[in-house]
Symmetry: C2
Subunit: 150 residues, 2 copies
């Protein structure tokens, strides 16, 4: 049993365009063609596409994914290289995750300000401060309202 590109598109959520694009980029060298030149996807192919999707979803570049797939196509001899690649990738993904978490914390800090009962006072004070800075340096005030008490 094999699947057409449309069926694979529905199974994976990748558009037909994307599947053909990936093929063009050398990500799907394992997909065979039938006698009419149509792509005939097997279950094993789907499993590999799933792996490609995981790598893509974690931010790996297409060029790097192609490198990984190339290793897969060369068989068991490249297990060590694959391990090295995936370890390095995991490391970068984890670093990226940490960075995002940190930035999210700063956003949460902003949110706390906005959700506090003193939000208006805090924000007004901040705006006064930046307007004061512009004033001191003889710069135009770019803000909508001028809020400068005394």
């Amino acid at each position: 049993m094999t699947y057409s590109i449309k069926e694979v598109s529905e199974k994976t959520g990748l558009s037909i365009y994307t599947l053909r694009f990936y093929d063009k980029q050398g990500l799907l060298p394992f997909v065979a063609r039938n006698s009419s030149g149509y792509r005939a996807f097997t279950d094993g192919d789907l499993s590999l596409i799933h792996t490609i999707n995981c790598l893509k979803n974690t931010g790996m570049k297409i060029k790097a994914i192609r490198q990984y797939i190339d290793y897969v196509m060369q068989g068991p001899a490249t297990i060590k290289q694959r391990e090295t690649m995936l370890l390095a990738h995991r490391k970068t993904v984890e670093a990226e995750q940490r960075k995002i978490a940190e930035n999210l914390q700063e956003i949460d800090y902003k949110l706390n300000v906005y959700q506090s009962p003193d939000a208006v006072a805090t924000v007004t004070k901040e705006q006064q401060f930046v307007q004061q800075e512009k004033l001191v340096n003889q710069l135009p005030n770019p803000y909508a309202q001028t809020i400068l008490s005394k």
Copy 2:
């Protein structure tokens, strides 16, 4: 005290090109100009650029960041809208984080296979399986080595 674009570039890690690009995109309407037409960044401006950076680092699109900055420029009246935006953004970032974590788990599964003492056997068996699939469906075998023990 104000900062030149070069100083801000060094402080923030954003290239001068990127800072000017952000300005062109309407992300820096708060940055004033001195008498020579040069951008004069204040400390308050740096703080806002920091916020922009947090939003960008968590994947917010420039267009959405501009919307947020527009709210900031309108003063305390838009606190509610800012809160709504940041809450929605936090939700999408958290969803994205979860998705990445899930995909990373699948990559870890692959890594476990590669790191196991039976790695060669497992990978060989997988390759035999996919080659068998191709054979059964009368498709060419795209793999480097044919490993098909009876």
